[in-house]
């Protein structure tokens, strides 16, 4: 059965299930399908266009450096603004995948040039970062192109981090992590609500989701990699509070999906989860990565799941290099976490029909 017939059947089915009058614009749907099929891409093509964009940007930066254009702030600014605007216009005009590489290159380049130009003009780093962040926000508002929106979300996260680092307000990183963890959870758990709110939000859903995952990872890396930022180890558990709340909430949802009824099982699950949270009190990065895995599996989002698993492995290995704790404490924490997971395993195996 062809894809289009498939859609028609689906539409009829929805029509039957909706009690109130279900109205849809069949032409618009079919047209969007046609565009989608003409531009059907996979992750390989997206990554290729992003890498190509970066490589071209690099070469062009070298060109600017050697040719001496760097010496004129105004030229840099003019170039930068023109590039950003043309990237946005190109994306609004042509919904074609093949211009992605080009528009990504000039967009990133434009952002870099604006940043350079402004700071050369003597404007403070804080101001420059704010302006860059605002540019990214307006980009998302004007174009809902997948890759540009994704890059803009990353730029926004990067700008916030730059502000935190530049002003040495390192403890704000906990707020950053809290904000992104809650946002991520909200986006994952309210897919239907966001998608049905409006066209713009529906288009932004995919790029923002992946962008937020990466932004959260930036934050987690900042606290997961010791000595990267000057943050007191005594306060690192603050981030763990936020991740703990989310993990318990997710456990609650997972219990529902798996139809665990008996009170004894529920108590045991919550107790094991709490124990596990305590063992990772000083490693919020690991629990953050676990949140990404659980959320991604919950909504069956494979890219997120892969990213989550890779980051779990990374954060656990990073923990090893963390020299602020003695090896004995590390050993006890890891070993007891492992035993708790094995406990979970035995529990799920024994109670196959929970």
């Amino acid at each position: 059965m062809g894809k289009l017939d498939n859609i028609k059947t689906l539409l009829e089915r929805i029509h039957a299930s909706e009690a109130t009058g279900f109205k849809y614009d069949e032409d618009a749907i079919l047209k969007e399908y046609k565009t989608q099929q003409d531009n059907s891409s996979n992750i390989t093509i997206k990554v290729l266009s992003i890498f190509g964009g970066f490589l071209a940007t690099l070469a062009f930066m070298a060109f600017l450096g050697i040719s001496g254009f760097y010496n004129s702030e105004v030229t840099l600014l003019i170039f930068g603004i023109t590039f950003v605007i043309s990237a946005i216009i190109l994306n609004r005009k042509f919904h074609k995948l093949i211009i992605d590489t080009f528009s990504i290159s000039i967009y990133i380049l434009g952002i870099i040039l604006i940043a350079f130009g402004l700071s050369e003009l003597g404007i403070s780093i804080n101001m420059v970062t704010l302006l860059i962040g605002l540019t990214a926000i307006s980009t998302i508002a004007t174009t809902q192109n997948l890759i540009l929106s994704f890059i803009s979300v990353l730029i926004i996260g990067g700008s916030i981090l730059t502000l935190i680092f530049y002003n040495k307000a390192y403890n704000l990183i906990h707020l950053y992590i809290a904000f992104y963890t809650f946002t991520l959870t909200y986006i994952f758990l309210n897919e239907a609500k966001i998608v049905s709110t409006g066209k713009i939000l529906s288009r932004l859903y995919n790029p923002v989701r992946i962008g937020i995952i990466f932004s959260l990872l930036f934050g987690l890396i900042s606290i997961g990699k010791r000595n990267l930022i000057d943050i007191s180890l005594n306060h690192i558990w603050i981030s763990s509070i936020f991740t703990a709340v989310i993990i318990i909430y997710l456990v609650h949802i997972i219990i529902k999906i798996n139809q665990v009824e008996s009170v004894k099982s529920k108590v045991l699950i919550y107790a094991l989860s709490c124990l596990w949270i305590i063992t990772t009190l000083f490693a919020p990065a690991i629990s953050g990565a676990i949140i990404i895995v659980l959320l991604s599996f919950l909504v069956n989002y494979k890219t997120g799941l892969t990213i989550g698993i890779i980051s779990i492995i990374y954060f656990i290995s990073q923990y090893y290099y963390d020299l602020n704790l003695t090896l004995l404490i590390k050993s006890i924490i890891l070993f007891s976490s492992g035993i708790i997971f094995l406990g979970f395993y035995l529990f799920t195996t024994k109670n196959k029909n929970l």
Partner: protein
Amino acid sequence: MSKIDREDIQIISRNSNWSEAQIEKVLKENVYNNKEAWYKFLRLFFISLGVGFTTAGIIFFFAYNWADLHKFVKLGLIEGIIVISTTFILFSNLNIDIKNILLTGTSIMVGVLFAVFGQVYQTGANAYDFFLGWTLFITLWVVVSNYTPLWFLFIILINTTLVLYWKQVAHDWTEVFMFTLIFIVNSGFLIASIFITKLLEVVKIPIWFSNTLALATVSCSTIGVTLGIFEQQESSFYFLVLITTLLYILGIYFALNSKSGFYLATISFSIIIIVSALLLNLSNDFMMLLFISLFVIASVTFVIKNLINLQKKWAN
């Protein structure tokens, strides 16, 4: 009726007054994971993390007690763990996936054993022979279990051994030669894995394995050739160029036959980097750099256009 995916739901909801509750219902029924999937996932998730964390905990414990323990106790304990877990794997009637995960944990313990041995007898903890020993002694398990993550560990160990051998012993090997060697080894594994899947239909190699291996292989040839271009050319460079060309042709041929966009994209991007390096070697004045940036955009766009066309052709 074929499966409804996320894209379908998004497109329809953008052009209709589909209610939130109904979307939620369709998402839950068609896209999200159900109880069965959760059960399978959680089991694997827990056992992997359980074995991983426990092994790591044991490793850290030994690292902590390094100085205090008698060497007999150190080696004996680790060997004891290895013997117990292999016996358990051999004679218990656990699920095969779980056994494989345990075996992977045990293989890492073999590495710990060699590290401790190295410490006790002062052979150094990162000497190449430590990795060589580790590689050799898990070979049998790798072959018998035929478990992909274990193969992955095995290949990483071989690469590490080679690189360390080059750094510590074979000082006369050039960088280009080193990359040629790793390139040959990894492409050998890649080709073998592809051949085995073709020959024996029962063997299924996960796509992440062959793709990661392919990415590593192509990275070796790309870095090797790019380095060679900027350095004094030697015989191994010409050899690397020759086998890279041969393997890329083979790779493209294979990709076209097996409809793999990934291989085509990776090989093309590698060629684009190599050509950019060639251009940069010709001249590094600013016009050339401008030309290179335009060349990259044009060539990547060209590759993407062709990939999209190919995908459309393959889809029909």
